[in-house]
Amino acid sequence: MNRSLTGATVQIDFQSPTLNDEEIDYLRSKLREDYDLIVRGVELGEDSASPPIAAAPTTHTISQTTDAVATRDGEPSRIVPCTIRSGQTEEFPQGSLIIYGDVNSGGEVRAGGDIVVLGTLRGNAYAGTNGRLSAVIIAMDFAPLQLQIGNCVNRSSTNQKPPGYPEIARIGPEDVIIIEKFVKF
């Protein structure tokens, strides 16, 4: 668990009200004890008038499969606060990688989960190294040499300039990696 959220106030928003009061109380105390999160309120059903600020996504453009969402939430992430330069490799098989910088040509990032690059991705990125096909790669500027998700490989065909907006790579239909404009989850 990433501890950077310690002490935060959270709002729990259920799409389908399947929990009773006892279960909610258990969830509340569990979050408090294990993760030091303070539960501000619990929203059940879809009757919420104004959506809470940090609410769970309702428009999920990636994968709608429930198991993917569950694994993503439960696993750790590693934050790398610098640029990955040529010849450097950052590997995190246990979960997702977040890079506060660029991944330069000749550099490599590998993660068991997702990869998020808050800069330009110019090197190689390999998400879902444990074979998870729902993993995604997001970068503010996308100019990678090679992408790999699970066992699907995508090689950049041209030396195009990045389009200037964030993009996301994921496995689309027919097991091909597709890259498209990243709007939000």
Binding site: R85, S86, S105
Partner: protein
């Protein structure tokens, strides 16, 4: 206490030795005491570029093997005050030298000279490690092409690992014409990738070849654009604040387009 600066690049042929020779001479012309150290054991070049090859008697290897004192191995450049050269051995190879031995030499030179410029060999192996062992700062030389930039990026990562700070960038063999017609990366592209401080841009200058062959560094001839660029970099190394002139020759139309895209 002086500074020890390693001049390095990763890739060969981008102008490490030319830059070392010119920056060292320029610093000496500015009144600093300078020693140039050739760390390219087995493939020494700096003595030729400096025009001092006939006067090299002892090398850094002789100093390490205690054949002579460090001061005796330094060759004085008679054209300018306060400029010395410590040549590399031509008959040994890079594994004959230990990084600690190079560091000991740099530590001694630092106490006497304002600037010690170490000319690093290409590569990331022992030669590079020897050259950077005693350095306080680094100058990374690159040309504006993708392979040189990738190697520079690798070198910057290695320098950062051993906490050499600051690392300054020299873009060499920059051609405003090629940038203008879109077939060469511009300064902004290079800096965007390497993300370190730019200390100077040296334009492509055919005078470099003749000056190398004659053993007279370019900076002795004030007129050439390359010489002026090296003089400016030397001044910046001494702490003067001199803006980097915009060498990119853009037409009025593309300047306007650029201004709009940058200020979107």
């Amino acid at each position: 206490m002086g500074k020890v600066i390693v001049v390095t690049s990763g890739k060969g042929g981008v102008g490490k030795t030319t830059s070392t020779a010119n920056l060292g001479t320029a610093l000496a012309l500015l009144g600093k005491s300078v020693v140039l150290v050739d760390a390219d054991v087995g493939l020494r070049n700096l003595d030729i570029v400096m025009g001092l090859e006939s006067r090299v008697v002892y090398t850094s290897m002789d100093v390490i093997e205690k054949q002579c004192e460090l001061n005796k191995a330094l060759v004085r450049d008679r054209r300018v005050d306060g400029l010395m050269l410590l040549a590399a051995s031509q008959k040994n190879n890079k594994d004959d030298m230990q990084p600690e031995q190079m560091k000991a030499i740099c530590d001694k030179l630092r106490t006497t000279y304002d600037f010690t410029l170490v000319d690093s060999p290409a590569g990331i192996e022992r030669g590079f490690r020897n050259a950077s062992a005693g350095a306080d700062e680094a100058i990374v030389v690159t040309t504006p092409d993708v392979s040189a930039i990738r190697d520079a990026d690798r070198i910057i990562g290695l320098l950062q690992n051993v906490e050499i700070e600051p690392i300054n960038l020299v873009i060499n063999r920059f051609s405003p014409q090629l940038v203008g017609n879109g077939s060469m990366m511009d300064q902004a592209d290079v800096l965007d990738i390497l993300n370190i401080d730019l200390i100077g841009v040296v334009p492509e200058d055919s005078g470099v070849i003749t000056s190398t062959n004659r053993g007279i560094p370019l900076v002795y001839e004030d007129g050439s654009p390359g010489a002026q660029a090296y003089m400016r970099i030397a001044r910046r190394l001494t702490g003067q604040r001199i803006p980097i002139p915009d060498l990119e020759q853009k037409g009025l139309f593309s300047s306007i387009v650029n201004w709009f895209t940058k200020n979107r």
